[in-house]
Amino acid sequence: MSPVGRTFSLMSKGRKKITGKKRSTGKRAARKKTASQKNAVRRTRSRKKTGGGWIGRIWRLALLVAGICLGFLLPWVTYLNHQVTTEFEGRKWDIPSRVYARALELYPGASLTLKDLEIELSVAGYRRKTNAGRPGIYRVAGNTVEIYRRAFRFPDGAEDALRFSVRLQSGKVVSLRDVESATPLDLVRLEPAEIAAIYPLLKEDRTLVKIKDVPPLLLTGLQAVEDRNFKHHPGVDIKGIARAALANLKAGRAVQGGSTLTQQLVKNYFLTDERSVARKVNEAIMALLLEYHYDKSEILEAYLNEVFLGQQGAYAVHGFGRASLYYFDRPLEQLEAQHIALLIGLVRGASYYNPRRHSERALKRRNQVLSAFETTGLLSAAQARTAAASPLDVTEQPRSRGTRYPDFVDLVRRQLAQVYREEDLKTEGLSIFTTLAPTDQEKAQRAVSQGLKSLYDRGLSASLQAAMVLADTDSGEIRALVGDRDASRAGFNRALDARRQIGSVIKPLVYLLALEYEADYNLLTRIEDRPLSLKQPDGSLWTPANYDHVSHGEVTLLEALTRSYNQATVRLGLNIGISHLLRKLEQLGVRVDVQAVPSVFLGAVELTPLEVTQIYQSLAAGGYSVPLRAVIAVQTADGDELVRYPLRMMSLAHREAIGVLNYAMTQVVEQGTAKALPGLLGKQLVIAGKTGTTNDRRDSWFVGYTRQRIAVVWVGEDDNRPARVTGSNAAMRLWAGLFRELSIESLDLRLPDGASWLWVDRDNGKLTGEHCPAAIQLPFVDGSGPAQLSDCLARTRDEEEESFWRKWFGKKN
């Protein structure tokens, strides 16, 4: 197990340890108590012995009964005692872990449209109102959005609630303002959206509260309604039972319960719902024992977190902390008297008084509770009246509890599974901070579903499937991930699990390897695109053909890559060696298990879309490999940092060759197999890309990157049958569908040290001057540039030389 995992298990052990000592003293005390009871019995006997014969007989009988009782009761009570103490002290609720999206940073100059901001807010559970009067609400006025951000514990520190406004203009944040102090702000984070919760097997949802954080009215009010004598009774309230019994007798059936809070807790905690005298007796004994061992405040805190207060789908809402979020979408400490009254009212019957379903009943019950508050002096008459006159205030719908983006959350689980046991994720109440950008994810999902629909309209199969991965190039943070044409379906996650041949998507690596040999290759080096036959390990011949079934003769490296010529690539690859290519894949972060056969040069390697993204991330970032990340940090339920996945990068060798290759990949889009892309995007930008198609058009791939974003798309059939797809007719269209919606910038083509831009003659590849005909600028790894000068440059140099001499010696002109 990793060091992190170790600390984790240590911590959970540590939590239980605290109470170990207490338990043993408790048992000792219990033993003492039963001993003194025995003594008491003996004393009574000696006093009564002086009585008559029949009295003596009755006495002996009573003694017998008492003895039997004691003999039976003693072990029973000891057993119950053991149960109560171990259970209660080892109590640890299974708290689901919650998964959060990245926190959106707002600052002047940030790219953001009003539409995207509203998506972010709505996914984070913020509601649009006409007045942003309390946390969780926002208001839109023209191009200004006023947001009342809730308090939130970010992975690097807690921040208070903040009411601020954002002014947007032409897709950018213009300014930020603190509403209360009316001062400008430089930087504000939105509260990250909760995108999923990882639930325990026991379908209970819970947000733990500590008694010191609970509004006082909830504590006193709960006692006023459920158990007025809570402070004083020893666990069982005789008066309360009598009162209830009387009421039940009058009604002829059970209408009232005399249960104390302690008994209710015991019932919830240890016992079944069965209604019997035996259970009642057990309940009473255990309540007494619980009170004997523990403080009132401990019992009350347990009650506050245990009581059942609602049902959300398959999940039971337990405890006031969760119920407050579930009904009001506010943390407990922000509730007002009427809200507290409603929740207390639900204790009697959470489904009967369900305020979303039976609002009238709920209102009536709430106001009963409010009047109990008034009669016990917790509220003044005026306060109670105001509270009773206010609406229920329950949100129309609870914040969605389900997983919003199952494919991304799947990746999160897998990354965490390397460190944690699944069980810990389900029970430890961790906060998991991820890299997901909800707006990007929504756009990616739409790009996939609409893209596939339009492919169908263009005559392709309706059963086509797709996967899409979007990441930030420099940080390797995954912003969106789609693994199914229907993004809401959690099932086969193609982005992670569809292992498919990558076809021509591998080619840039072959050319990269060539460019690393600066003595032998540059982008203008001529290679042969001619038919060839190779003997394979099984003896058969392999004769790769080009996509257009034409051999193009002598072509430059640049042409061969941008037009994706197969024969030229295989010839080039054979000069470089298969083992080099396989090693390159490994360097770029992908482990491949493949036979070293020449068809590897044409992409006979099976990889997942995520792996392809990892490979190209390093190239897109200019030769800095960063492990793709979905998780940034994990916090414990108490807010301590459990683990952080910091940005770590590895600089690759031959970054100058990568710089040159990146330019070549922009030419794929400019004039090669992806030249339809700018039209599809409706934007003219510098973009690097590569299409990929496999045999019989089974797989369609597109890899493309801009200055800050990289995305990989795969389209094909699940059963791997021919799908009539090519890189540019399918995957590239989906890619364009996504990038059309994103704010993007041109790729940065600045070269690292060791490579430079040179002017060369387009026709003959000779070094030339900027002013010369047919001059184009191309990147070269230093030392790989053309040795020969064009006639034009040679002439210029002669002239320069001449003018130099003339300047110094030839003043006569």
């Binding site: 600052y107 690097d156 420099d474 940080s475 990068m649 940065d748 040290d753 430079s756």
Partner: protein, 171 residues
């Protein structure tokens, strides 16, 4: 008898001594890493580069985060400094100043591999001249030295001095 006692106490004495020494050593390296950044990177870089300042444009959000990171660094909380710098990098992933600061934090955390990578990255996308270039190469030099690459370290120091010559871009 006397000898016996001394033999018996010898291991304790030694272990005590070792503990004492290691405590001293631990302290020294911790502050050393910190001093190293000042004495071997920042101070010489700023001295040598007087007048040659090439500063990229920064937005106010990044400035705020950089200031907070510097605060965290001053109080010795390198972890928090790294977290804040990472936030700044999300806003401006190719800001050479943020990358160089990150490299210096890694140096102080004695993660020399990462210090090296961040400094090289900062140089690659930075101005490659002036004070930041100087800090880039000095960081690389210190990191290489700790990684056992003595020759590379000396070379890097030479490169740091070259940062002051504004070399013509070769096209």
């Amino acid at each position: 008898m006397e000898r016996k006692i001394s033999v018996r106490f010898f291991p304790y004495l030694m272990s005590g001594l070792v503990l004492l020494l290691s405590a001293c050593a631990g302290q020294r390296t911790a502050s050393d890493a910190n001093r190293e950044v000042e004495s071997r990177v920042r101070v010489p870089a700023s001295q040598e580069s007087e007048g040659v300042q090439v500063f990229p444009l920064q937005n106010s959000a990044v400035q705020e985060l950089l200031a907070d990171a510097t605060g965290a660094e001053t109080s010795g909380d390198y972890n928090q400094a790294a977290v804040l710098l990472e936030r700044a990098l999300r806003i401006q992933p190719r800001n050479p100043e943020i990358l160089q600061q990150m490299a210096e934090i890694q140096l102080q955390q004695r993660d020399y591999g990462q210090a090296l990578n961040f400094a090289v990255r900062s140089y690659d996308i930075g101005p490659r001249v002036g004070e930041i270039c100087n800090r880039n190469w000095r960081t690389i030099s210190v990191a290489r030295e700790h990684l056992g690459d003595r020759k590379g370290s000396v070379e890097a120091e030479q490169r740091a001095r070259n940062c002051m010559n504004t070399k013509p871009q070769s096209y």
